[in-house]
């Protein structure tokens, strides 16, 4: 699977297979192509050359099937500033066909139950990451793609992320975790290292 | 009185000169851009062949 965009190739040669139910850890310096790899797997970015299959569905032709079963958590929170935390999640429910009743529980899990009615514009970066995490937990995606989920989080929030990963793995669901955080990802079944758009380790 | 047919050659000439000029300039520009693009591709390819070890 090769992905080149603009003049600078973001990801040159990456052939990769992940077993279901595994935790894959992706290491590498900033700009090594980790985000690009995750965005291509999560169908946020179409590969310029080459092809791939995620959860058995073709990357180019069956994107909606992949999107139904995948959640991509990137450093951009994709939230609406003028909406409250609850409203952001309720909209996500409408888009993904999830019952609205799941919202309170998801917010509670990330410790934001008390600010559910407040607008995201007043939130700190850490709180926004938590709302994005809550949105990811709204449904039980078969494939969880986490791109630097720990960035900007306090210790307590990092625990929540670990708990979410552990829960997903317990359910036999797959997680791909890209992070610098060396203390995290201990239980990874496989680790790959990336540098300048290539998988080197 | 013979109706004098207005010659109005001026307008016709102006139109033809403008058209010929515009088309001529465009053709020249196209060929120039084509030559420049070919040279740029050749230059890059040349540099690449010399820089990568055989």
């Amino acid at each position: 699977m090769t992905r080149v965009f603009g003049a600078a190739p973001g990801l040159v040669r990456a052939s990769l297979t992940v077993e279901r139910g595994d935790l894959l850890l992706v290491r590498g310096p900033n700009g090594a192509g980790k985000s690009t790899l995750l965005r291509v797997i999560g169908t946020a970015l179409a590969p310029t050359y080459g092809s791939g299959a995620v959860l058995g569905f073709d990357l180019a032709l069956e994107r909606d099937e992949i999107r139904r079963r995948t959640e991509l958590l990137g450093h951009r929170t994709r939230l609406y500033e003028d909406l409250t935390a609850a409203e952001n999640l309720r909209f996500a429910c409408a888009m993904h066909g999830v019952a609205l009743s799941a919202v309170p529980a998801a917010l509670a899990r990330v410790g934001l139950a008390d600010v559910a009615k407040e607008r995201v514009s007043g939130f700190s970066q850490g709180m926004r990451q938590r709302v994005a995490l809550a949105r990811a937990l709204l449904r039980r995606p078969e494939l969880l793609l986490l791109d630097e989920p720990y960035a900007g989080l306090d210790a307590e929030a990092k625990e929540i992320v670990d708990a979410a990963i552990a829960e997903a793995l317990a359910d036999g669901r797959t997680v791909v975790l890209a992070t610098h955080d060396l203390q995290r990802g201990g239980t990874a079944a496989r680790t790959i290292v990336m540098d300048q758009g290539r998988i080197v380790g | 009185m013979v109706s004098v047919v207005p010659s109005l050659w001026g307008y016709a000439i102006a139109g033809y000169v403008m058209t010929a000029g515009a088309i001529g300039l465009y053709v020249v520009a196209l060929h120039a851009r084509a030559r420049r693009a070919r040279d740029r591709a050749a230059a890059i390819a040349g540099r690449r062949r010399t820089s990568t070890p055989p």
Binding site: L45, R78, L83, G97, R128 | -
Partner: protein, 224 residues
Amino acid sequence: MTLVGQSVAIAAKDLRIEVRGRYALGSVLPFAGTLLVAFGLSLGPGRTLLAETAPGLLWLAVLFASVLSSRRAYEHEGEDGALEGLLLAPIDKAAVFIGKGIAIAVQLLALELAIVLLVSGLFDLSLAVAPLTLVAALFLGTIGLAAVGSLFGVLAEAPRAREAVLPLLVLPLATPVLIAGVRATALATAGRAGEAGSWLGLLLAFDLVFVSVGTLVFGFLLEE
């Protein structure tokens, strides 16, 4: 969730953000008001000329308001990359086009209410003569402008998009709406509403073309 359900959810979200941000009330309406006063200053103070050009001035204000509202509809998606969220949702991308179109249309209709009142006050446009035809013209024109704005507003979010790309795209394409809208409005306010039928038909044709084609091709604009 059906296409309709998704579209309504997106429209509701857009309108809630719009009400919270009060962009239409806060900046588009003042802009339209300034525009109308400027028209008056440039064409006035002779009342007859102003009364004659009033339909044109009204629709010019509506046209520019539609461009501003369309850009705004996608601008608030861009803040934290929310547009990518819509791309990743397993929904029919046409729902984004329709949902945003509805939101833009609703805002435009609200703005038009104010613009019409302003124009009738400033330029003696007689609204009571054939209100039904006038409302029909505004409604059909708004659907057309919302469709074009919803379709190309997403391009204004492109990394290298300059301010002018949206008006440059929308205004030429919206020529039929401008012409038919102005003619229908002029006929309605001049008591010759009976003759406005053909213009309303033209507006309807424009709407059908743009809503259907927009629904078909919008996915290509959003796709990564």
